[in-house]
């Protein structure tokens, strides 16, 4: 069976570090899964993500997307085929919302009519009224709205794989819950493979059909949320679950 994403013994070391940021990772992800990658900062989760769209190049091992080695495909083509969302959003401040969303379609030379239709479709999909937002600029939008645009921009050419690097890390908790639910809905409707990096255990367990737990560049456990809770692999996973439990107890005192 061909996997949407496959890591074969992949390692990545940064120039002056004495350790591997990603350490001999093996991984199989099926098409249509919503995978969350959970770990504390510096555990290599962002690096793992950036190896897929080759913002970082692996030192060792192979990464296959739908059976195709990413090294053998032109890097620009690989990136245009993959949706990419980052925490800081990175909207282009000098371009209107419509132009931001149209970035990759323009790079792929779609005709203007098709682009306009797609922009409106994506704005609606991400919960932004096209007539109201099409011609605005990023600095006129709230943080949550900007992240919606970031998501719409990443979905523009209907990529089969979406990489999301802590996309809701900078929005307040109310908006965050709303965006989480909407993202799950979008995922369910589109049948794409999502890879979602987070350091928030609740977010990871809520969103993921399966959860990857990383520590020091290694995958500690990769399973469904239920199985991880039932059988934590080691003390690190234990401590993560324990932190969630403590949080629940804390809120239990008030609610």
């Amino acid at each position: 069976m061909i996997h949407a994403i496959e890591f074969q013994n992949v390692s990545k070391k940064f120039n002056n570090a004495g350790y591997n940021a990603v350490d001999h990772v093996n991984l199989n992800i099926n098409e249509g899964e919503f995978i969350t990658i959970l770990g504390s900062s510096g555990c290599g989760k962002t690096t793992l993500l950036k190896l897929i769209n080759r913002l970082y190049e692996a030192d060792e091992g192979k990464i296959m997307l739908f059976g195709e080695d990413v090294e053998t495909v032109d890097v620009i083509k690989v990136r245009r085929r993959i949706g990419y969302v980052i925490q800081q959003v990175g909207l282009f401040p000098h371009m209107s919302i419509a132009d931001n969303i149209a970035t990759v379609p323009r790079l792929l030379k779609w005709d203007q009519e098709k682009i306009n239709a797609r922009v409106d479709e994506l704005l609606s999909l991400t919960g932004l009224a096209p007539d109201k937002f099409r011609n605005r600029y990023p600095d006129q939008l709230s943080g949550g709205q900007q992240q919606r645009v970031g998501l719409a921009r990443a979905l523009a050419v209907n990529p089969k794989i979406m990489l999301l690097d802590e996309p809701f890390g900078a929005v307040d908790s109310i908006i965050r819950l709303k965006l989480q639910d909407e993202l799950l809905q979008i995922h369910g409707g589109l049948k794409k493979t999502f890879l979602f990096v987070t350091h928030d255990i609740e977010e990871a367990f809520k969103m993921g059909t399966r959860v990857i737990i990383m520590n020091e560049g290694k995958i500690i456990q990769f399973d469904t949320p239920e199985n991880i809770i039932k059988a934590p692999e080691d003390t690190f996973v234990d401590s993560l679950i324990e932190s969630a439990r403590q949080k629940e107890q804390f809120w239990g005192r008030f609610l």
Binding site: L55, Y84, V89, G90, L91
Partner: protein, 211 residues
């Protein structure tokens, strides 16, 4: 002073035009060369460090010494002046251009790269429009500096307003000194104001459109 102007206004005018000609040619060459070097620098941080350091060394050589060093190679006159001025401008332009382009928000550049823009597309579609302010600042700096140093180039027979000024100094002619200084500084001030006006028009247009 006014009588001097009435009597010699054609001479003053031709010196002014000659000055403008030198400045214009210099800026044209400077911009072409600096643009090319800037693009190269965006592909290699090592090269950008080497070039900026090299031009900063050149820039720190006094203009008179620089003219003198080049005379054996390119002789007296405009050519030598233009070479020296263009070399000086490389420091001013390259430094502001490269700094400006690199100061663009990293997350914006990351997003653009991650979405599959080539380095050149990131440069032209993202970095360039977002650093218009610095690019203009560099151009203004280079223009004003070129107008000033071009006056000194009169010492090597490059002509322009400097020749009136230096003539005046040599013959202790106050009228010539005054008109030479007024016109060359006036030119620098006017050019600076004009570019400032253009800068406001171009750089601030986007925000105006938003309102």
């Amino acid at each position: 002073m006014t009588t001097y102007f009435i009597k010699y206004h054609d001479k003053l005018l031709s010196a002014l035009l000659e000055h403008l000609e030198i400045v214009f040619i210099c800026l044209l060459f400077s911009l072409l060369l600096a643009s090319l070097l800037t693009v190269l620098c965006m592909y290699s941080t090592l090269l950008s460090k080497v070039l900026i350091n090299l031009f900063s060394v050149i820039y720190s050589v006094p203009s008179l010494a620089m003219f003198a060093m080049l005379i054996p190679l390119t002789g007296l006159g405009k050519v030598t002046a233009i070479i020296v001025l263009t070399a000086y401008n490389q420091y001013l332009l390259l430094n502001t251009f490269v700094t400006g382009l690199n100061e663009v928000d990293k997350s914006v550049v990351d997003a653009a790269t991650g979405m599959g823009m080539t380095r050149m597309q990131v440069l032209t579609k993202i970095r360039l429009p977002l650093s218009k302010g610095s690019l203009f600042a560099g151009l203004r700096l280079a223009t004003v500096s070129t107008i000033g140093i071009a006056a000194i180039a009169a010492t090597i027979n490059a002509g322009g307003l400097g020749s009136i000024l230096f003539d005046g100094l040599r013959t202790m002619n106050v009228n010539k000194i005054l008109w030479g200084s007024i016109l060359s500084s006036g030119l620098a001030i006017a050019a600076n104001a004009l570019l400032g006006f253009a800068e406001r028009k171009i750089v601030i247009r986007k925000n105006a459109k938003n309102l």
